[in-house]
């Protein structure tokens, strides 16, 4: 019963976010601030993880190919497929659920605990629009982060494969081009878009409707990470089934 109530309040929250908009000039500033907090600040960690995981994928693939009949370009092919289809959109989104999601929940939760949300409401401001709408707009730039992750992941794979002596540069690049299906990119960005919506709204819901004090803010942040991750994994399965299995 509690879960049904929670799902209901989540969708009511989504509706309220888009009603009674905040003054445009104020909203514009908030959106730029959120782009800085949620997107720009995430780029360094995303770049670091993508580059090295791309490298590890290339090394692991190369080390597991001991059959001489398997072409050398498979290293590049496997790296491309792993990075574009799953690592960049899905696993980075789970990492972002920890970074961005926890940040959103704790910042909104702290405002709830210290009555800052009540202060907004008393002033006649739609606090959901003021707090969550700019985050949703900012997170629309999340696919750019994933595009950077895809590029750096593959670059990391190339560096590891070529400079680690696992593959020649030509073979790796041939693998990148082999059996390339452009729809895979579209599929990756469709699911990135869905994950972005989950990343902005689920942690906001957790923070906005939390009750209690500082300890509960911590619990809400943990719950936020768990539920955001679960929803990302579930929606990944459904989207993959719908878009790739036909």
């Amino acid at each position: 019963m509690k879960y049904i109530e929670d799902i209901g309040s989540y969708f009511i929250m989504l509706k309220k976010i888009f009603s009674s908009p905040t003054k445009t000039s104020v909203l514009k500033e908030l959106i730029f601030k959120e782009i800085d907090d949620l997107i720009i600040d995430s780029i360094p960690i995303v770049a670091f993880i993508s580059f090295f995981v791309g490298g590890v994928v290339a090394i692991q693939t190369a080390l597991n190919i001991d059959n001489p009949l398997i072409p050398e370009y498979l290293v590049g092919f496997a790296t491309r497929q792993s990075i574009i289809l799953e690592f960049a959109p899905t696993f980075l989104s789970i990492i972002m659920a920890g970074k961005v999601g926890s940040f959103i929940t704790s910042s909104i939760g702290s405002m709830r605990v210290t009555e800052q949300i009540d202060a907004l409401e008393v002033m006649g401001i739609n606090s959901l629009n003021y707090l969550v709408f700019p985050k949703i707009v900012a997170i629309m730039f999340y696919p750019f982060v994933i595009a950077i992750a895809m590029f750096l992941g593959i670059l990391g794979g190339w560096v590891a494969a070529v400079y680690g002596g696992f593959s020649s540069s030509d073979a790796f690049i041939q693998g990148l081009q082999e059996d390339f299906i452009p729809f895979h990119i579209i599929y990756a960005f469709i699911k990135t878009f869905v994950f972005a919506i989950i990343l902005a709204t689920v942690p906001s819901w957790q923070g906005y409707y939390m009750k209690g004090g500082a300890l509960e803010v911590g619990k809400a942040s943990t719950n936020s990470f768990v539920w955001t991750s679960v929803l990302i994994i579930l929606s990944n399965y459904i989207i993959t089934q719908l878009l790739l299995s036909s």
Partner: protein
């Protein structure tokens, strides 16, 4: 003036307000007092619209809040200033931005005009040279004063204060009390203060409403509260040793 007519509010099975009827007067500091759990904060939250009463009416200048459309309610909220228990200042904004916030949201003033007004109200609450500081960088008493400045920057008709003295030393608490009363008189606004601090009752209680278990059991002013023979009120007033001793001295002098 705010009239409260038979307000009831329950949470689940628990009835918090059991039918409160009273009037809060313009140009006076109206106090809601009572023990913890008596329903005073719930009554305040009904007045400021954070809780919707289950039954009864609240009238702002003879206009029932329940009958107002969205636009009227929004206009009313712009006429309300609120001082929260913890200040509720926005952590991510400087003091200047906090005080300017209602002006930015509800007026079309130029930045220079807004800054002028911000400096004026900060001066009124006796705060200077704190404009660029963040709330975490100033003391609790200063935060309360900034919160008062934010509450009055838009010239509200109604000022609500939720336990303005909590967490403050007696001297700072008196400063805050006096500031609230002075602002009420200067601007002729309707001020409602929730407190359980007897010093506040003595200092600024021009109209006092005493709640117990969700019922209004007594109302009067700060002279009458020390003379009443209402047992619930005397139990509350003389629960502190200081007030007991003052009463004993008065009796022995008589």
């Amino acid at each position: 003036m705010i009239k409260v007519d038979n307000i009831k509010k329950s949470f689940g099975e628990e009835e918090i307000l059991k039918g409160i009827t009273t009037t809060f007067y313009k140009g006076k500091t109206n106090l809601i007092i009572g023990q913890s759990g008596s329903g005073k904060t719930v009554l305040l939250k009904c007045l400021i619209g954070l809780f919707k009463p289950d039954d009864g009416n609240i009238f702002f200048e003879d206009k029932a809040i329940q009958n107002m459309d969205d636009e009227e309610q929004r206009t009313l909220r712009e006429e309300i200033g609120m001082l929260f228990q913890g200040g509720a200042l926005f952590d991510s904004m400087t003091i200047e931005e906090n005080v300017m916030f209602p002006l930015r949201m509800f007026t079309k003033q130029k930045k220079s005009e807004m800054l002028g007004r911000v400096n004026e109200v900060l001066k009124r609450v006796k705060l200077e040279n704190v404009n660029k500081k963040f709330p975490a960088e100033i003391s609790g008493g200063m935060q309360k004063r900034v919160s008062i400045a934010r509450a009055i920057v838009n010239n509200p008709k109604y000022l609500f204060c939720d336990e303005p003295n909590s967490g403050l030393d007696p001297k700072t608490a008196t400063v805050i009390d006096n500031l609230i009363q002075e602002i009420t008189h200067e601007n002729n606004i309707t001020t409602v203060v929730v407190t359980h601090d007897m010093n506040s009752v003595m200092e600024i209680g021009e109209k006092i409403v005493f709640l117990k278990n969700g019922l209004l059991v007594w109302q009067g002013d700060n002279d009458q509260i020390f003379k009443t023979d209402n047992q619930d009120v005397t139990d509350f007033v003389y629960s502190s040793n200081l007030f007991k001793k003052i009463r004993d001295i008065q009796i022995s002098e008589q």
